[in-house]
């Protein structure tokens, strides 16, 4: 099996492996506007964004620059069973819109697809 190239690592905050395209989001409007399955990437998911995340069925996974396993966003991700990598510094710089990635929410690793 070919070795997968690691793009970025962070803190595995909600387990699960998934692949998909990236969408950079920074507001509830952007989350609300998501109509295709995507891995959302953000600097952080503050509590005001979490209700939109709970409502949106197109979110495959979540990656944030900041945060950890004890943040509200991590608890919500685990409740919903969505893989989540927190504290992946520079995620919003290194991952661009529509880039295809694979993520492992237990190990906290983002691979090239």
């Amino acid at each position: 099996m070919p070795k997968k190239k690691i793009i970025l690592t962070g803190i595995g905050a909600s387990p699960g492996e998934i692949g998909g395209r990236v969408e950079i989001v920074n507001s509830s409007k952007e989350i609300n506007g998501l109509k295709e399955c995507r891995i959302i990437v953000s600097s952080f998911l503050t509590p005001d964004l979490l209700p939109e995340i709970k409502k949106n069925k197109y979110i495959l996974g979540m990656v944030t620059d900041r945060g950890g396993r004890t943040c509200h966003a991590a608890i919500v991700a685990r409740e919903l069973g969505i893989p989540y990598i927190a504290g992946a510094m520079n995620a919003t710089k290194l991952l661009s819109k529509n880039k295809e990635i694979n993520m492992d929410g237990r190990k906290g690793i983002i691979y090239e697809a």
Binding site: G12, P15, T46, R66, G68, R69, T70, I75, R78, G87
Partner: protein
Amino acid sequence: MKPKRFLKIESIKKLQKYGLPIPKTIFIFDFQKQEKEIDEFLKNRRYITVRSDKREDTDFCPHWLGCSVKKAKNFIRKITLQGYAVILHEMVPIYRERASGNILVLKKYFFVELMGVGPLTWITREGKVSEWIKVRKNDLKEVSHTGKRFLKKKELKNILKLAKRVPPYRVLEFSLRPEGLYFWQIIEDKTSKNLE
């Protein structure tokens, strides 16, 4: 129907039950009946910390982290009239911490997430974590470490020895300050079972 509970006050009582250090604290449910108790608490202090709690209400509650004793009684009276129970702490000023953070207690591990100075809501609500540590529970050995190091390993070990008393799947909020260690809250997190 389950009776509505004061969740924040229960959480502080649990910290006391597990023998974790907290600032000197009293709870006010009835201003008039407890006025003497309030006066006694305010005596010989210049500032106190006032927090509040509402039954089953996890939303924002009024608080005054550095309330002067002169203004305290009016503020306490006002918020008790609005239906809040009041938590009075001896004042522990923020921005003087050596480190603040959360300890997530699992069955076999602790996950510790730390920041420097500032209110702990910066971690939970804004994700301002600068150090992530995974520690094996039985021998308190670090399994992994990422980020800046705020505490000496021995200091962290001493804090985690206390956290061993707490059942798994709970988050403990704490801060280590020049004058000592304080725990602020204990929160149940059933979702953390997925991290075992």
